[in-house]
């Protein structure tokens, strides 16, 4: 099943088998099979349009919101095939962070963090809420910056702070996997550096899968890298190995900047 350009992962947190995604007739992800390591950062990279975001969004079944997108294959989270579960339950186990920071504009910083509980109608005691908010914001190194403004609107924060708020919102639910879709592409270099630092810290508690088209970002913070090209998974390896001795010619061409 696995080809020679992939490495074996023991006890993966998330496994994907023969995953294909098609927009109407256009196949955007072709038969991808891959295992993701627990408590590690895995970077999915590749040129624009290679299907990396499409692959990521298949994991928490976001594609099912759109009628013209069809997904086939198996997605196994901690031993359960989540393709057989209702998507609403699946998504609560995976946090997602988007390209552009998108805090809920009608909610305060505090409510944004616990939005997952609020919107799902899960009742919490006051003390539990306070605890979740403080823990999540501390985890994303935002607590000291906003602790006196918790009841201001989240949209008043800077772009980088908003993105960290969105990560906190994803963490509040204690997800098993955090999916990030180019989380720093809309941010300035300083905010980007902060988020990268944060992700390295977060992998101690969470498993992180992130899409990036920034090769140096993948090299800086990821433990594993997955290279996609034209919807296919070309190569999957430890980041250090892939960046020094890529096995596939296409990977080498991409990494050396021959296309992108």
């Amino acid at each position: 099943m696995m080809n020679e350009n992939t490495i074996q992962i023991n006890n993966p947190v998330l496994s994907v088998r023969n995953l294909s995604v098609a927009y109407d007739q256009n196949v955007a992800v072709k038969n991808v099979s891959v295992d993701f390591k627990k408590n590690a950062i895995t970077a999915i990279m590749g040129p624009s349009g290679c299907g990396k975001s499409t692959l990521l969004r298949a994991f928490n079944r976001m594609h099912e919101l759109y009628e013209n997108i069809h997904t086939t294959g198996e997605i196994i989270l901690n031993g359960t095939d989540i393709m057989k579960l209702p998507p609403i339950r699946v998504r609560r186990h995976m946090g997602m962070v988007f390209q552009r920071p998108n805090p809920f504009p009608t909610m305060s910083i505090y409510d944004n963090v616990i939005a997952g509980y609020k919107l799902n109608g899960i009742r919490l005691k006051h003390s539990e809420k306070d605890e979740i908010v403080e823990r999540s914001l501390t985890d994303v190194a935002l607590w000291d910056e906003v602790k006196d403004a918790l009841f201001k609107k989240g949209t008043f924060l800077s772009g980088g702070q908003q993105q960290r708020l969105c990560i906190a919102r994803a963490l509040a639910f204690n997800p098993e996997v955090i999916l990030l879709d180019e989380p720093t592409s809309a941010l300035d270099p300083i905010a980007t550096a902060k988020i990268e630092e944060l992700l390295v810290e977060l992998k101690k508690q969470y498993s992180i899968i992130m899409v990036t088209h920034n090769m140096s970002q993948a090299a800086r913070i990821s433990d594993f890298s997955l290279f996609m090209y034209l919807g296919e998974m070309v190569e999957y390896d430890k980041t250090k190995v892939m960046f020094t001795t890529p096995k596939d010619k296409r990977t080498e061409a991409y990494l050396t900047g021959k296309f992108g």
Partner: protein, 297 residues
């Protein structure tokens, strides 16, 4: 230090001609703009000059006088007694009732159109809404007459008036809901869905609150649109000289009173003050909706 731009006379000649043309054009544009606003200024001026003397405490808190009272007042050169309380309460009753019917239906339909942009039914609904918007209001009054007056209230009633007004409000609320929701970034919806929030809750707790000011703008505009409607109310609410809060009974309304005063030579003076009040209310709603539209940006 000066710069020689127009060293050749040919160029300079042209530039003066072009500047003159430019000024002329600007003058025409400003002139036409003033021409556009002049009717509204003249209308308000006329209404204030002719209507202000009738505006008083009793104008708002008393019901309409009868012809005889008006005639005696006119003969002795006094202010016409009474007011338009029955019209004010009638308009309030019917517009609130119409809004109660049109707002939920309109918002739900707008959400449907937004969620199913490309479905055939959505296209039909969208076109139908446009057609209703262009339907003469008297025809809508006729429909409400057949539906409600003939079959539900068995006589002219405030409810029939509300139904005809609510049909008029619907298209504006539907379209403004759809347009507002379209402007909300898709990622906001996805963010909520990615947390496992059920679809209906995303709509109720994320999309509608986020677009709230837009929805309110549409509602206020539609209210200001129907508040001055007369024709459909003639066929449905009919009018009344008393304050009426019963939905099943004939009811007056401010625009209906304008029409009634117009038809009674003794009460013609009341037209101006009644119109002034109506105009003021419509302007107020318009300005309010503008305020909300602004606060959105």
């Amino acid at each position: 230090m000066s710069m020689e731009i127009a060293s050749n006379s040919h160029y300079r000649d042209h530039s003066t001609a072009r500047m003159t043309k430019d000024k002329l054009f600007l003058g025409i544009v400003i002139g036409l703009a003033i021409l556009t606003i002049s009717p509204i200024v003249l209308i308000i001026y006329k209404l204030i000059v002719k209507g202000i003397k009738q505006i008083s405490f009793s104008f708002i808190f008393e019901t309409t006088p009868n012809t005889y009272e008006a005639m005696t007042a006119l003969a002795s050169g006094e202010r016409i007694p009474g007011g338009i309380l029955n019209g004010i309460t009638g308009t309030l009753l019917m517009v609130v009732m119409a809004a109660l019917i049109a707002i939920p239906v309109g918002i739900v339909t707008g959400v449907y159109l937004y969620e199913n942009q490309k479905k055939k039914l959505a296209a039909i609904v969208r076109n139908t809404a446009d057609i209703i918007q262009g339907t003469p209001s008297i025809v809508l009054g006729l429909i409400a007459y057949i539906w409600v007056v003939k079959h539900i209230t068995m006589g002219f009633s405030a409810l029939a008036g509300s139904v005809s007004l609510s049909i008029m409000m619907l298209p504006m609320i539907v379209r403004s809901t759809e347009e507002t929701l379209k402007m909300i970034p898709n990622t906001l919806k996805e963010a909520a869905l990615a947390m496992g929030v059920p679809y209906y809750k995303v709509i109720i707790r994320v999309l509608i609150p986020t677009g709230f000011s837009g929805l309110l703008t549409g509602i206020l505009l539609s209210v200001s649109r129907v508040i001055g409607e007369t024709a459909p109310l003639m066929l449905t609410a009919l009018g009344s000289t008393m304050v009426n809060w019963d939905l099943s009974k004939p009811t007056s309304a401010i625009p209906l009173l304008v029409w009634e005063f117009y038809n009674d030579p003794n009460m013609v003076d009341l037209i101006w003050s009644t119109s002034l009040l109506l105009m003021g209310i419509v302007l107020l709603f318009n300005l309010l909706s503008r305020q909300f539209a602004k606060s959105r940006k």
